[in-house]
């Protein structure tokens, strides 16, 4: 075949394709029958970022199971289709498109990785599908607000960074804060709020931004030591955080250290990794759950996990630290479906979500959306941690960052 005929063929194909438009107009809402309602979930279920999503999905699943056992929502059983998004933008978009176009789900409940989740933003808004995120902060998809995307069920990064600074100023009386964040999306968001809050409170900020893959944290800490701050705030992930705390101890830094929730995945492992409880003499962790891990308020979540996944629960490191974060998003979905009435449409559900407010009992603050606010959870608690005991620090500490639309 010559190239000319190929071109003719393709010309015809292109013409034909452009004449036909996507025909998706159907009388019935997709994913909805009298007896069932189909929800699409996606999260990293494999690879390096599996810890951010695998058990979060399991937690949401067990909550949906419970709802189904109690008769479902308006008599409809919730059916789940779960996809692996690998925490990667291309794969996440392909998971979302598969759920929406192939599996015809009614709505979406997924996303545990912020930068990747932002990639699906425009598609979801164009398709007018309600999307309740899992534990992704994904502030990039929440600001500017849209009618269909709801997230930050664990915490908004803007709240993380601002609240740490407020805590430093109010509780630790810090005038100058050494602030270590990542050079990624998370880091950019929490730093923006930290700077806004610091400005308002008259606090000085000495910032060191590091790559999550860094292996030697000496340089940033030596620089921070030279800047002589009154406290050090760390908003990195668990691994760099442990390295930083350990190195700070080795370098003789005795100022208080506050570790943001981004790095607190497993505090007992943190003690092992830091190697010495002396390093934690003056140490605070930020948390976003209603209680200390395993505490009485959220014990039911861990019990439910054991009951639903006995095999997994017997494996090491399970449930994974972020597991309880899956509950609030699932509650939010169920509540929105209930509020949308016996004949839900995507529009009605999105509308219900836009004004939703309830207390999950699992997270530190209420799940609450407002006219300009698509970030569900913005409250944090602070715990003093000495290597064995976590004690709650009383008081409420808020970010001063505001979205300027």
């Amino acid at each position: 075949m010559t190239s000319k005929t190929t071109q003719v063929w393709l010309g015809a194909a292109v013409l034909a394709a452009s004449l036909v438009h996507a025909s998706s107009a159907s009388a019935q809402e997709p994913g909805l029958t009298d007896k069932t309602i189909k929800i699409g979930m996606f999260s990293p279920l494999s690879g390096a970022n599996m810890a951010y999503g695998f058990d979060v999905v399991n937690a949401a699943k067990m909550y949906y199971d419970k709802v189904n056992k109690e008769g479902g929502v308006h008599g409809r059983t919730i059916e789940l289709v779960v996809e692996d998004d690998r925490c990667n933008a291309n794969d996440l978009v392909s998971a979302v498109k598969k759920l929406v176009e192939q599996d015809q789900v009614f709505m979406l409940n997924g996303g545990s990785c912020s930068a990747a989740a932002v990639a699906a933003k425009d598609y979801v808004v164009r398709s007018k599908i309600p999307w309740v995120m899992l534990n992704a902060s994904a502030d990039g998809a929440l600001y500017p607000p849209t009618d269909y995307i709801f997230g930050a069920y664990s915490i908004s990064q803007y709240a993380v960074g601002g609240s740490v600074v407020d805590f430093g100023k109010q509780h630790l009386k810090a005038k100058k804060i050494g602030y270590i964040n990542h050079d990624d999306a998370y880091g950019a968001w929490n730093l923006e709020a930290a700077q806004a809050t610091a400005k308002e409170l008259g606090v000085d900020l000495a910032v060191e931004s590091i790559n999550p893959n860094i292996t030697d944290v000496t340089a940033p800490l030596i620089k921070l030591r030279a800047a002589n701050p009154d406290m050090i705030a760390i908003t990195t992930y668990a691994k760099p955080a442990a390295l930083i705390i350990k190195k700070a101890h080795e370098l003789g830094i005795t100022k208080p250290i506050v570790l943001a929730v981004t790095g607190t995945a497993n505090v007992s492992q943190l003690v092992d990794n830091v190697g010495s409880k002396d390093a934690l003499k003056n140490f605070y962790v930020q948390d976003v759950l209603a209680d200390v891990p395993g505490g009485s308020k959220i014990k039911w979540v861990y019990d439910m996990y054991k009951e639903n996944y006995p095999d997994l629960a017997s494996k090491p490191d399970h449930p994974q630290a972020y597991m309880p974060y899956g509950i609030a998003p699932a509650m939010s979905v169920v509540k929105a479906l209930k509020d949308a009435g016996p004949n839900p449409t995507r529009e009605k559900v999105a509308e219900a979500l836009r004004t939703q407010k309830f207390d999950s009992g699992v997270m530190a603050g209420p799940i609450e959306f407002g006219p300009n606010d698509r970030a569900a959870q913005e409250s944090t608690i602070y715990l003093k941690f000495d290597g064995n005991q976590q004690t709650l620090v009383p008081g409420s500490f808020q970010s001063r960052w505001k979205y300027k639309g």
């Binding site: 394709a17 933008a89 176009e101």
Partner: protein
């Protein structure tokens, strides 16, 4: 990688089904091509937008593979900075659309040219090296570019990523994979034809002469250095165009997707397809892209399976997918 690289690469032309033999074209190949064309043409009528998204993505990888084929497969120069040029293409066309509202054919051309120009500059420096040194220098350049994408906040949006506004042509806006598909297909076919043209031209012959033996090429009067830089620049041009194709159906780009693993993925595709053949580059991209998408359905074991597939291919199908099938089926002859 020194002398061996050249010796074991398949002698290219006879390896390209349907492209080499000018006199008589076997019927089977015509049928195969017709089938491919028909599939591409009919796909939008048969499948969902999700499948078209996958198709678009695969075709982007086809063009990426064609580009890497030119520099590695045809010219034997192990350049490993493909993701960087791909990224330059995405950001260039994205910014041209975002900031100036350029019509997409123009921003596509611009994306290719900018990537190609950077490629020529880098090539002029890097191609003084050969073999492993070239591979590693270009690898370092790729990593450095990823850092630039992540830290040049004012231009690339840095860690926030860059939102890409819909591709435009006059009043027409591409808002879905279905609308983007014809554009992506046409571009892929154009780039495929361009690859074939290059491969069959004097330029292509000089590339292969350089690959087989630089000394001999020099003796034949081929300007070796210029040929290498041209191949590298062309490969960057292809990657840039691939990036602009990606920008027609994507709304967002983040530096995370532009690291060494993307370069390695493209390299894996052309090796598994069959290094040195255009059909191999195309087939490798499609087969490996599909494998990756199917593996998403078996989360817990996918890394192990993927690794075993790679090892298995290298152990039992060393000359690539097509050579393997041809040998097993027993039809066709090898050059």
């Amino acid at each position: 990688m020194r002398d061996k690289t050249a010796a074991v690469l398949p002698r290219s032309e006879a390896d390209l089904p349907g492209l080499s033999a000018r006199s008589s074209v076997p019927l089977g190949r015509v049928a195969l091509l017709a089938l491919a064309v028909a599939t591409l043409a009919l796909l939008p009528f048969a499948v969902t937008g999700y499948v078209l998204y996958i198709a678009n993505l695969l075709l982007v990888f086809v063009v990426l593979c064609l580009g890497l084929h030119l520099v590695i497969g045809e010219s034997g120069q192990f350049a490993l900075a493909h993701a960087a040029f791909y990224g330059i293409g995405i950001y260039t066309s994205g910014l041209a659309g975002n900031a100036f509202g350029w019509p997409f054919p123009l921003s596509m051309l611009l994306a290719g040219l900018v990537a190609g120009a950077v490629g020529v500059v880098i090539g002029a420096v890097a191609l003084r090296m050969r073999d492993i040194y070239l591979a590693l220098a270009t690898f370092a350049f790729g990593e450095a570019m990823q850092w630039v994408f992540l830290n040049w906040d004012q231009v690339t949006g840095g860690p926030n990523g860059l939102r890409i506004s819909p591709a435009r042509l006059g009043a027409f806006e591409i808002l879905s994979d279905r609308q983007a598909y014809p554009v992506v297909v046409v571009m892929t076919v154009l780039m495929l034809l361009l690859t074939i043209l290059i491969s069959r031209s004097r330029l292509g012959r000089s590339f292969r002469a350089v690959r087989e033996s630089e000394v001999a090429a020099m003796a034949m009067g081929i300007p070796v250095r210029r040929a290498k830089i041209t191949a590298f620049g062309l490969s960057a041009f292809f990657a840039g165009v691939a990036g602009s194709m990606f920008a027609t159906f994507s709304t967002y780009i983040h530096p995370d997707s532009l690291g060494f693993q993307t370069t390695i993925l493209v390299l894996t595709m052309i090796v598994v397809g069959g290094l040195g053949s255009i059909a191999g580059a195309v087939g490798g991209a499609i087969v490996f892209g599909l494998i990756s998408e199917f593996l998403r359905q078996t989360p817990s074991y996918q890394e192990i399976i993927y690794g075993l597939i790679l090892i298995g291919f290298m152990m039992y199908a060393p000359r690539g997918l097509f050579a393997f099938i041809r040998d097993k089926v027993g039809g066709g002859t090898r050059g």
